[in-house]
Symmetry: C2
Subunit: 159 residues, 2 copies
Amino acid sequence: MTQPTEMRLLKIGAFAELAGTNLRTLRYYEELGLLVPARRSAGGLRFYRETDVNRWRMVQTMRELGLRLDRIAELLATHDARLSRHDLQARVRAALAEQDRLCAEKEARLAEQRRRIAEALAKLSECESCRHGPSPENNFCEPCAVDGKPLPPDLSALY
Amino acid sequence: MTQPTEMRLLKIGAFAELAGTNLRTLRYYEELGLLVPARRSAGGLRFYRETDVNRWRMVQTMRELGLRLDRIAELLATHDARLSRHDLQARVRAALAEQDRLCAEKEARLAEQRRRIAEALAKLSECESCRHGPSPENNFCEPCAVDGKPLPPDLSALY
DNA sequence: TTGCTCCTCACGTCACGTGAGGTGGC
DNA sequence: TTGCTCCTCACGTCACGTGAGGTGGC
């Protein structure tokens, strides 16, 4: 009985494959304290637990939410041995709540963006039977010569 | 009558304020052909149309979807004078459709992520009345000593 | 010993950030 | 003329990408 718990440890290559990333990024994240290997061998080899892939995925999710790595490191800094169990769980709860808030915000922005795209596509269909067309001479149909109104913004962006 | 259409032109500073960005980024986007000023003065000053802010916003939306600037430049390359009106409109339609597809994909991932966060928060509430707690000795509650199951991934990431 | 994987520099790239030093006046 | 804004380099930064040259063997 060398260790009280059995856990399979992966070298960096196997862990990178499991996580869908590469060695450089894992080494960089270790440097930032974002994702530290469970242990190192005497020769310097990094060893990761299989469950560390959960932390990897959370970092990626937070990056997709637009956070910088140093900010992510702050939010995920729940691994401080000086924390009481109560304080640790409060931090975990705060990190999860903040992430949910960011997800909800982004969901709202995406829904609004899809609404704008639909609006642009609808106007584009009208344009197809129009005798005008975007060109430098008519300020690229801005405003539209038919109804005199500004184009839907996402159509204006492409005309 | 100097110009057939009247349009208010903004110097880079005013346009940056309107767009909510800065001079450096606008100059960089011009360099990439992403957002080119409507004209330049003899002294080299850049002038933008107010409606160019629509293009700026579209670029930002696509960046938030995770696209690189060179890929965005490809998708927004609808401004080629050699294109027929029919081909131009087909390209615009394709660009809008692709963007909608990316939005829908991201929406689905966000919904899934919120589901995982809710799952983690639910388990966390159970943890609060548990006599165990995450520590190196129990592999950070992996697996959970109460039900013997792996932790919800987003809780595992923080324990 | 031979492969394969791992290690640590260290320079390159993308998308800007930030001055330095000088010019324009739609 | 004086301010204020604009201009073009050009070096710095963040989050990695990509070798170079050498070592480990959970």
